[in-house]
């Protein structure tokens, strides 16, 4: 499973993007479970966020969903920060 996260907006307006390929990873099952929950809570279209808030685009195996700060679920927040931290 390929999980991509792209962050746009924010006070600085600087974009960040990263992706994690879970195949072959020992913790693949945990990634899959987290990604499924995060995607289930996201929207198919980008919500209009709050002024200067980050907007996120999560793509899992080609399917893209959206969410934005500060209204993220725990799973969305965890997935986003893990992918941006560990992803390439």
């Amino acid at each position: 499973m390929r999980i991509q996260v792209k962050r746009t907006g924010g006070f600085a307006g600087v974009e960040r993007a990263a992706a994690v390929e879970t195949s072959g990873r020992a913790d693949a099952q945990e990634w899959h479970a987290l990604a499924e929950r995060a995607v289930a809570d996201s929207r198919g279209t980008p919500p209009i966020g709050v002024p200067d808030g980050f907007s996120y685009q999560i793509t899992v195996d080609g399917k893209t969903v959206y969410c934005s700060d500060p209204r993220l679920t725990e799973e969305q927040r965890k997935l986003i920060s893990q992918v941006l931290k560990e992803g390439a």
Binding site: Q4, G9, V14, A17, A40, R43, G44, G49, P70, S81
Partner: protein
């Protein structure tokens, strides 16, 4: 950082224009397949919540407590909260109005920055706080972990600590604090929609008043000011002096990791994009530069004449939520004439918009 291609191109269409029609969601929510019904139902619930919440916040004001009875109108009713690196808002209350400074420099900076912003609006424009009715000013610091952002959530300001690699503490530049608070003023006045050109105007108004608050605090004239947004926010290893420059949009930073400042100064370089709510932090460079040109042409303290004209437009009741650059520009011409007559102010405003390529009627 932007190495990955955009998997959602949509070249011109702003991202927000493609919201699923409610009737489609209604149908989906009743679908027998829970995989379809579940997300649709949740979207409807969240949409309803956010729409109601936003409407209430805009129409009747943020649900903050009323100012305490007998509180003097010339004191900012400030409260600072500490999220302690979590994301629950507002967090733990750590400093209220009149409390002595504590050991946390971030809390003290936020408190001082809120005070400086309150002061400018009160003394320069006779405005009592964000809503003109003494609305309490609330801010949360230490939001999230290594959080590289600050924002206005419709009710309060929120500041991250930065990751120390690219960004430092977002309470360091007083113009960033002023910028977030000015989003509150915009919400209670023209309520410019946060996408496309009206969103870029919303951003620009926040940069204008953020910069004016810094100039007011330092006692600087237009000629002395640096006209930078976020000076002191970039970590040492980043090549750049700030996040945005109103004097020379597009020149604030040029860095290996951060990329290059993408702001245009004139309509010739206007950026069409669906990202960042339709480039609200990018095209704001154009009205930002127009303000800089007016302020420096007039000289003296920028909040007195240039700032007054912009404030008159923001609060005058004629600026529509979906205003475009020419709408805003035209209103500044009318405001300059109404307040100062046929003179230097009017000429400076007309010339500035001409120079950035925005037509006025």
């Amino acid at each position: 950082m932007t190495a990955n291609p955009d998997p959602h191109p949509g070249p011109v269409a702003p991202v927000f224009c493609t919201i699923v029609p409610p009737h489609v969601l209604d149908t989906l929510a009743r679908h027998e397949d829970p995989a379809l019904a579940g997300p649709a139902r949740r979207t409807l619930e969240r949409d309803a919540f956010e729409r109601t919440h936003r409407r209430l916040t805009t129409v009747i004001g943020a649900p903050s407590p009323a100012p305490p009875e007998g509180a003097p109108a010339d004191e900012p009713p400030r409260t600072i909260y500490d999220a302690r690196h979590r994301t629950d808002l507002p967090g733990r209350r750590v400093r209220g109005e009149g409390d002595k400074p504590g050991k946390d420099a971030t809390v003290n900076r936020a408190y001082a920055g809120l005070g400086a912003t309150f002061d400018l609006f009160l003394k320069a424009y006779a405005r009592n706080s964000i809503n003109a009715e003494g609305l309490p000013l609330n801010a949360t610091v230490h939001y999230g972990e290594d959080y590289n952002n600050a924002f206005w959530n419709g009710e309060q300001m929120v500041f991250g600590d930065g990751d120390g690699e690219i960004f430092l503490d977002f309470t360091i530049p007083v113009d960033v604090i002023g910028h977030e608070l000015a989003h509150g003023v915009t919400q209670y006045t023209a309520n410019l929609a946060y996408f496309g050109q009206s969103g870029a105007l919303n951003e620009s108004v926040s940069d204008v008043f953020g910069s004016l608050i810094k100039q007011y605090t330092l006692g600087q004239t237009a000629a002395e000011a640096d006209w930078l947004i976020g000076a002191g926010l970039l970590a040492e290893r980043v090549t750049g002096e700030a996040l945005r420059s109103m004097k020379a949009p597009g020149t604030a930073y040029d860095d290996d990791v951060l990329g290059k400042d993408p702001q245009p100064a004139t309509m010739d370089d206007y950026v069409r994009t669906g990202r960042d709510n339709g480039g609200v932090h990018i095209n704001s460079g154009i009205p930002n530069h127009a303000f800089y040109l007016v302020a420096t042409a007039l000289g003296g303290y920028a909040w007195e004449r240039a700032g007054q004209i912009w404030y008159d437009v923001l609060t005058g009741g004629e600026l529509q939520p979906d205003a475009l650059f020419p709408d805003f520009a035209t209103l500044t011409v009318a405001a300059a004439r109404a307040r100062f007559g046929e003179g230097d102010e009017l000429e400076a405003v007309q010339k500035a918009w001409e120079q950035v390529g925005v037509r006025t009627l």
